[in-house]
Point group: none
Chain length 272, copies 2
């Protein structure tokens, strides 16, 4: 699924992750890895409270080192988002003055439109590990985004918050670019399958065979069928057998038939 | 949004995160924090390749220490998921034999139904940091879930993968508890069902029985298995057997066994 080349990742190229006052270099590395996994590569750091090139940053970045190296460092939020047309602050809660607030999903679903115009650019702004964004920073945002969390334990790790929002952005992009249908998702079981489906006629032949064999086995009594065949039909129809599975089941029944025939208790047969 | 008390978090209480062969204690701590942030608290570890109580685990858990402490440790996947009715493996890609595959969102959106029956329980299974899940582990799953990633950098951090799936589960739960669920639509197959789902342990006993019978029947050669049992696993896991269907299939196998035993060609037996 992820292998399918996408014609245009312009939407993702227009998303910048901005981390303000980060204390732990591991979180910068973890955020970089999360970004690159989701196809984002524009990272800006505002007044980091650690060395962004610390060994721990590279250790957590695990192959997304280039993002850490390319991260621009600014003194002020202002400089990091000057060219952005939409600035969204990640916020645990709206403080004092209520501010437009969206869920990660609603934010992401709006992005294909919001980022369509020439020159459009989004900044997703994340605050300090301990104190988040200041009121002044929150009030520079068009809107706030809140990741719904367990009210008893709501403090998300910084890299985890970046992961969730980057994931939602990628999902929205895939969905938007997919209205031109994803090949795999369009498959019956969500993945390219190895055998064609069994036809209705195949299924009916299988059920007839199954009923004969179960009758010979004296497991099924056609004069007192109760719901046995109905339950077996329901099961195998629900599974949407493919043609090879059908052949395997027919093969099992055929082998069973042969054993039952070869060993039929009476009448006594000669030869064989 | 996250402050609103929800009447019933039963759906989230029925989700277990299973980590197999984890090497880095920080990932266990990070996964525990992600879980608790999203309201999950059932963590199981299978054959960890590190000390789960290492300082680094608690450091990354950051307040979710209780989850790390309560995590049960098992030697085998089997023991960790025996009581689960739905087992889903996180997989980078379907190998060899295609297996039903869902996106994180499709998986989560199905959970309110899948976890509605009494006794229903989901295991989300995550593999090793370096090599993921083995084919044998993947073939114990009803389905696989793939987090869409950048094809140029697809290896997600383990805790980040747990974060994404736990987030999707929480979102689905919030959405479901917001809509005054239609009783029938809330059931696994879109209608009130007549029997509870079979558990993972039931399924494994059935597969073991099926393999014995097919071997006795000489339909299956354990020394040259090809993909026979994998294909049968895939078929019956996909169908999500209920407990009565399970009993019927075990009954058919038991009846066949008896016939095969009574008529075994050699050694010649007396009596009976």
């Amino acid at each position: 699924m992820s292998d399918t080349p996408r014609p245009d990742s312009a939407m993702l190229d227009r998303i910048r992750i901005v981390l303000i006052g980060t204390s732990h270099p591991g979180n910068i590395g973890g955020a970089a890895r999360a970004m690159r996994n989701m196809g984002l590569d524009d990272l800006a750091l505002v007044a980091p409270r650690c060395d962004p090139k610390d060994r721990e940053a590279y250790s957590r970045a695990s192959g997304a080192n280039a993002l850490v190296d390319a991260a621009r460092v600014h003194d002020q939020l202002e400089a990091a988002v000057a060219d952005c047309t939409l600035v969204v602050g990640a916020s645990a809660r709206s403080r004092h003055l209520p501010w437009p607030m969206v869920s990660p999903r609603a934010l992401a679903e709006n992005l294909p439109q919001a980022l369509a115009p020439d020159g459009a650019r989004l900044a997703l702004v994340f605050g300090r590990e301990d104190t988040g964004l200041t009121n002044a920073e929150l009030q520079r945002c068009h809107q706030h985004v809140h990741i719904p969390t367990n009210p008893d334990f709501s403090s998300l790790n910084l890299a985890a918050a970046v992961q969730v929002l980057a994931y939602e952005c990628r999902q929205a992009w895939l969905t938007a670019s997919d209205s031109a249908a994803d090949d795999d998702a369009a498959q019956p079981f969500g993945v390219a399958w190895d055998n064609p489906p069994a036809s209705h006629a195949d299924m009916e032949r299988f059920f007839a065979h199954l009923e004969r064999t179960l009758t010979t086995l004296a497991f099924h009594d056609p004069d007192n069928p109760r719901q046995l065949m109905a339950r077996l039909r329901r099961l195998f129809l629900r599974a949407h057998l493919d043609s090879m599975e059908m052949n395997i089941l027919r093969g099992i029944l055929g082998t069973m038939d042969k054993r039952l025939r070869d060993t039929a208790p009476s009448p006594r047969r000669d030869g064989e």
